[in-house]
Amino acid sequence: MVKKTFTISNAQGFHMRPASTFAAAMMKYPCNVTISFNDKQINAKSLMNIMAACIKVGSVIDVICDGEKENEALAEAGAMIESGFGE
């Protein structure tokens, strides 16, 4: 299991577009990907769950990858969040 903490920097947070590109990217990996936010565990392969968590700019989240290709999944997740989803 690997885990890293991030701060959401894009202005609109995890709204529709970032959530769907993020979920789609995580789908490629066989491991489980979970976002931990406000004591909630969110399935990061589900854009609906990500959006429903209402993660806004400035929010601090943990991304947890567990299973096959967990390092690759975490690296891509980090790159996406840190780039602000290209906004």
Binding site: A11, H15, M16, S20, M27, S46, A52, C54
Partner: protein, 568 residues
């Protein structure tokens, strides 16, 4: 005559088509052949996606990419692996497709509705639409195909669902009437994008009107006339053709820069009262916001709005105008408003009393909350600060010192903001206009508030009918105030705008162009009219008219002369 909310300008005359809502009730069953039920569900989803794709395509053509995105969003959401997986699991557990779908959709509707974010709340409406769409297919309900409605149809519905709006096209739908929705609802925005007259919030509309009934929809006044007589039909047919001719003429000025006939460029921005108004400003082709009044945040409540609340509102407006200028005016409130928590005493003469910048500088803690919120919003666009009711240099210096204090705090907190945020002032008192040469050295920009400047200069209350004849921006004294303010600002190289009603007055426009005004800030519906008006004058013509007006001794003479030369 029936009254509703005027949501999209224009006149529509046609025959009613009522969009009925079908009952989506069903009796839950226990499933034994779960494989066949899963297949039935997947088939319905496939059909839903195909329908939605077709609707998105139709919308892209009729209303543009942004509207179509809502529909493609529905496809993304129904394809969510978690949602689909959970529904399939419920079916495997013996639930029928209808109830499995409903269980999961309702869960998300609840989650999204509970969010404290407007954008997320919208997602609840999306999930509701998805549920209705898939459920209709599962239950074999055929929806009315709006796209196949005959030409001259007036749509009547309880509310416009995205699947209904997607079928709307300008060729057959001439008007829209709904029971729900306000000026900024999605239906209203779409109706305006499609230029279809719409009256929303008409109580019981779906049962009040009958199919094939004749109606007139006046989307400008918010009125609906059922079964009009011949005279009414003639009057409205004329109104309709006039409206279309004017809109066509004005549309030539959409998407172009604001220029005089001789090529001088001006900024043409909008006055707004709340973040949602910024949407209208952008729709009307405003080049930004020249005056964002912040009083709405403070009214009708029992305590001061917090920094977070204010920040969210300012940020929202900044995101809507997308990098274009957003001038936020700090609180302009006094004893004329009843806001108990502010502890403002009733006074004899509130317009000359303890208000606006005077109140704010005495209530520094409260003022700092607003300034911090504006500064933080400046990380999201071209946000500028403007102080109201300035009368002397001390107020500008004190206000700016407070801005610096807030910047230092935010720096220490590692918060993001624009270090070079422009800080300007309203010139709306005679004192500020006379002192404009000195104030220009201390301000990053001026914005002339002609409504108050006229009142203060003429010492006249426009609401008092015995003296209101004095209230005119064409009074020689007021014109001199305006001229001086613009010239002093330009001499120091700062931009000078105008956010009062005079900025949209066709008689004033050539004078303002000649004085050297750089920015016109007007109400959203006036944008194209003002742009057209500016385009009719060359700088030289404007200068000649202005020189003549400035040589006239009375308001009456100026008005008479201008009403002759401004017929263009």
């Amino acid at each position: 005559m029936i009254k509703g909310t005027a949501a999209s300008d224009g006149i529509g005359i046609g025959k009613v088509l009522v969009i009925e809502e079908h009952s989506l009730e069903y009796t839950p069953r226990t499933i034994t052949d779960t494989e066949a039920e899963t297949e039935r569900f997947n088939g319905a989803v496939k059909e839903f996606i195909e329908n939605t794709e077709a609707q998105a395509e139709a919308l892209r053509k009729s209303a543009g990419d942004k509207e179509a995105e809502i529909m493609t969003g529905h496809i993304t959401m129904i394809n969510d692996p978690y949602l689909r997986g959970e529904i399939e699991a419920l079916i495997k557990g013996g639930q029928c497709a209808e109830s499995a779908l409903e269980t999961m959709c309702d869960m998300f509707i609840q989650m999204f509705s509970a969010a404290d974010d407007e954008m997320m709340k919208q997602r609840a409406a999306d999930v509701r639409d998805i549920k209705t769409g898939v459920l209709s297919i599962l239950l074999g309900i055929k929806e009315v195909k709006v796209s196949e409605a005959p030409a001259g149809t007036v749509l009547v519905a309880r509310e416009l669902t995205p699947s209904v709006t997607a079928g709307i096209n300008k060729d057959n739908i001439v008007g829209i009437i709904t029971e729900t929705g306000g000026k900024t609802s999605h239906s209203a925005i779409l109706a305006r994008a499609l230029e279809i007259p719409a009256v929303l919030s008409v109580p019981d509309a779906a049962s009040l009107f009958k199919n094939d009934q004749c109606v007139i929809v006046d989307g400008s006044s918010g009125e609906v006339i059922a079964d009009p007589d011949e005279e009414q039909t003639n009057v409205y047919t004329k109104k309709r053709s006039d409206f279309i001719a004017e809109r066509k003429e004005l549309e030539k000025f959409r998407g172009v820069s604001t220029k005089s006939a001789s090529g001088e460029e001006y900024e043409l921005v909008c006055n707004i009262g709340k973040p949602a108004d910024a949407v209208k400003a952008m729709e009307c082709d405003g080049e930004g916001v020249g005056l964002f009044r912040t009083e709405f945040l403070f009214m009708d409540r029992t305590a001061m709005p917090t920094e977070e609340e204010q920040f969210e509102a300012y940020k929202k407006a900044a995101l809507i105008v997308k990098g274009k200028p957003l001038i936020i005016r700090t609180l302009d409130i006094g004893g004329d408003k009843d806001i108990p928590y502010m502890g403002l005493a009733k006074e004899e003469n509130p317009f000359m009393g303890f208000r606006a910048i005077r109140y704010c500088l005495k209530n520094r803690d409260m003022f700092k909350v607003q300034i911090r919120a504006i500064l933080r919003a400046s990380a999201f666009g071209d946000v500028r600060i403007m102080f109201p009711l300035v009368t002397c240099v001390d107020e500008v210096r004190d206000g700016k010192a407070l801005v610096e204090e807030c910047k230092a705090e935010l720096r220490a907190e590692n918060a993001e903001f624009n270090e070079k945020i422009p800080v300007g002032i309203m010139v709306e008192t005679a004192a500020a206009a006379v002192l404009a040469d000195v104030l220009a050295k201390e301000s990053d920009f001026f914005s002339i508030g002609t409504n108050d400047l006229t009142g203060y200069t003429m010492a006249c209350d426009r609401g008092n009918s015995d003296v209101s004849y004095l209230y005119s921006a064409l009074q020689p004294s007021v014109l001199r105030m305006i001229k001086r303010t613009i010239e002093c600002g330009r001499a120091e190289g700062i931009p000078v705008g105008m956010c009062g009603e005079a900025a949209a007055n066709p008689q004033m426009i050539p004078l303002l162009m000649s004085f050297g005004l750089t920015e016109f800030s007007v109400s959203a519906p006036s944008v194209l009219k003002v742009r057209k008006c500016i385009s009719k004058w060359t700088k030289q013509e404007a200068d000649e008219v202005c020189a003549k007006v400035m040589s006239l001794a009375t308001e009456k003479e100026a008005d008479e002369y201008l009403s002759k030369v401004c017929v263009r």
